[in-house]
């Protein structure tokens, strides 16, 4: 930890790359009161959400965004589940960063998730930091931010909260549930918990459990956050601090796992950052260092450190088969949902083998399943990028499912 935090400290002092900010105001607790675009609903007042950890969540908020229009018989809704650091701003500029929505390539008129035919819903996950109940939000019982008193949540809890939102929207059956990475884990939970409510399920670049390696990388991130003195045992909000150095390091480490070695080598190699030779010091001599520092420093502007702890924990605890006697196939027994699993050749975080295990489980219960592995050098992040073959397969599957659901196919076919 020491040297790593040291170089970030120097960054803050402003001696270094242009890619990291030295704005001291970032140490302030940020934007708690700024209203976010989109919708927010209070749930759980009549029927509390019973979490896997045993705690009951009463009166909690879920922030969500929708695109397109719900049809008259409420049969065209697609729930998009976001990944670890995603949020409900799928297709529009992000309210904090101003950058394009994380799946703007996928969601919109005439796109794969065609807003002219489908009603797209995306909710900020439970434990998140963009308006849904999480450690950053105020605990209605105490009037103070939850911090580490927020209960530890699971992927299934996130899904149960989404189901309550879908109830609130008056939708019985979702035409499709989709998402990449942790979004894909939620898709699997949806299919397992609410098989009758999910007509089609598209988990992308996902896995049915976290491996030792997955947990290991997350633990590095959590330790980076908790080692930051500004974390204050999770109580930084009350102290007017933010552990942005720790969170930035967590993001840097995680970001490496989202890319393939080949892509890193081709994009950065050993190229130096705005200099002719190495400086015999610990500046960001290499472009890859500068790039990672940039990723870290921009991330902290839009993400909460405690949320990062809670969500990574939920992912680590995820093992879908566990609830079903260790047999993954039992999670899907009797399912009528149409599945399409998609993986990417260069994804080493949730490699194709993990998707294949899910396919085998679905085959074992004779489920309706498609599975494609897409050739890409873009690693785990491929699901967020312009991958024409991925988009073609996804669209083809949805079109086929739409036909079976009695929804219009693309171009009114």
């Amino acid at each position: 930890m020491g040297p790593f935090m040291g170089f970030l400290g120097r960054d803050r002092a402003g001696t270094m790359t242009a890619t990291t900010s030295s704005d001291p105001s970032r140490n302030e607790p940020s934007r708690v009161s700024r209203p976010l675009p989109g919708h927010q609903v209070r749930l759980g007042r009549e029927r509390p959400l019973r979490l896997d950890c045993g705690v009951e969540l009463v009166d909690f908020t879920v922030a969500y965004q929708t695109y397109g229009r719900l049809n008259a018989d409420r049969s065209n809704a697609i729930l998009v589940c976001h990944a670890l650091t995603g949020d409900q701003f799928v297709a529009e500029p992000h309210p904090v960063t101003g950058k394009d929505g994380w799946w703007h390539m996928m969601v919109g008129p005439g796109k794969v998730l065609d807003t002219e035919r489908y009603f797209i819903i995306c909710a900020n996950i439970l434990g998140g930091c963009m308006g849904t109940a999480g450690p950053k939000e105020i605990n209605p019982a105490t009037g103070k931010p939850w911090g580490l008193s927020f209960p530890v949540i699971s992927i299934a809890d996130m899904v149960r909260a989404q189901a309550m939102l879908v109830d609130h929207l008056g939708i019985d059956n979702l035409f499709a549930v989709t998402g990449g990475s942790m979004g894909g884990m939620q898709v699997l939970e949806w299919a397992a918990l609410y098989p009758k409510r999910v007509f089609a399920a598209v988990p992308i670049a996902a896995a049915a459990h976290h491996t030792a390696q997955n947990i290991a990388f997350h633990e590095v991130g959590r330790q980076a956050i908790m080692a930051d003195p500004d974390w204050h045992g999770g109580d930084y909000a009350a102290r007017g601090a933010r552990p942005h150095r720790g969170l930035a390091v967590a993001r840097m480490a995680a970001h490496i796992t989202y890319l393939s070695e080949k892509a890193l080598q081709e994009k950065f190699g050993r190229k130096l950052q705005n200099r002719a030779a190495v400086t015999w010091g610990f500046d960001a001599d290499f472009q890859i260092e500068s790039y990672l520092r940039h990723q870290g420093s921009t991330f902290v502007d839009r993400f909460d450190a405690n949320s990062y702890l809670y969500i990574t924990r939920a992912m680590d605890y995820f093992d879908l088969a566990e609830r079903y006697g260790g047999v993954l196939a039992n999670a899907f027994r009797g399912t009528a949902t149409r599945f399409c699993l998609i993986s990417f050749t260069s994804d080493w975080l949730y490699p194709t083998e993990e998707s294949r295990k899910i396919v085998h489980a679905l085959n074992a219960v004779a489920a309706n399943v498609s599975f494609a592995e897409i050739v890409s050098d873009n690693g785990h992040d491929s699901f967020l990028l312009d991958e024409p073959e991925f988009h073609r397969v996804f669209e083809g599957f949805l079109d086929g499912a739409a036909e079976h659901r009695g929804l219009p196919r693309k171009n009114g076919r």
Binding site: R338, C340, R356, V359, H360, N363, A364, V365, A366, N368, V369, S370, F371, A372, E373, I374, V375, E389, R392, V393, E395, G396, F397, D399, G400, A401, E403
Partner: protein, 216 residues
Amino acid sequence: MTAPSHERAGAQTNISRAMRIDLQLIADMIEPRARVLDVGCGDGALLEYLATFKQVDGRGIELSMSGVNACISRGLSVIQGDADTDLKDYPDDAFDFVILSNTLQAMVAPRDVLGHMMRIGRHAIVSFPNFAYWRIRLDFLFGGRMPKSDLMPHEWYDTPNIHLCSIKDFVALCGEMGFRVERSLSLDSSGRARGIGAGFFTANLFGEQAVFLLTK
């Protein structure tokens, strides 16, 4: 052979015109609305035909990624996988028909694949090139080199066809495994189909390829 129903209805489309002749024969053996698994489904031509004209609940397995992606893009339920290893995951009697068209000869363990097909399906439909076809016999006899044909165009060193057999071989294997041959057809070089008689002598000599419908 009776004409397929869609031809009688005058509804022949590009789908069926583009289909290999053995696929057409296979399609005619399948009951409407059956549960079908097509092993080695290629670009999905047969599955799409069956879904369109026989309303089957169809699934496919295909080894090549390009084939799989083409299938899913057409709205078919297909997984990327290998028949040699992936059939074992399916439960018993999950399908009415399991199809293996022009693929048996490329399997590492064709006997095991056949066994799994008959385990997971009520029926199996298998088509394959007949290695005892007279042209192949003559080719080898007088040419002295590994035979090639339209159905088997590869050189010996890069052919995927590692377990070629004759009609007689196949019938013997079915007998050994206890599978009943419900229907069998041989196709000559002009694509004319004939029932395979009890002696198989004619079929084994003049059939360029064969289609078998097997039952447990």
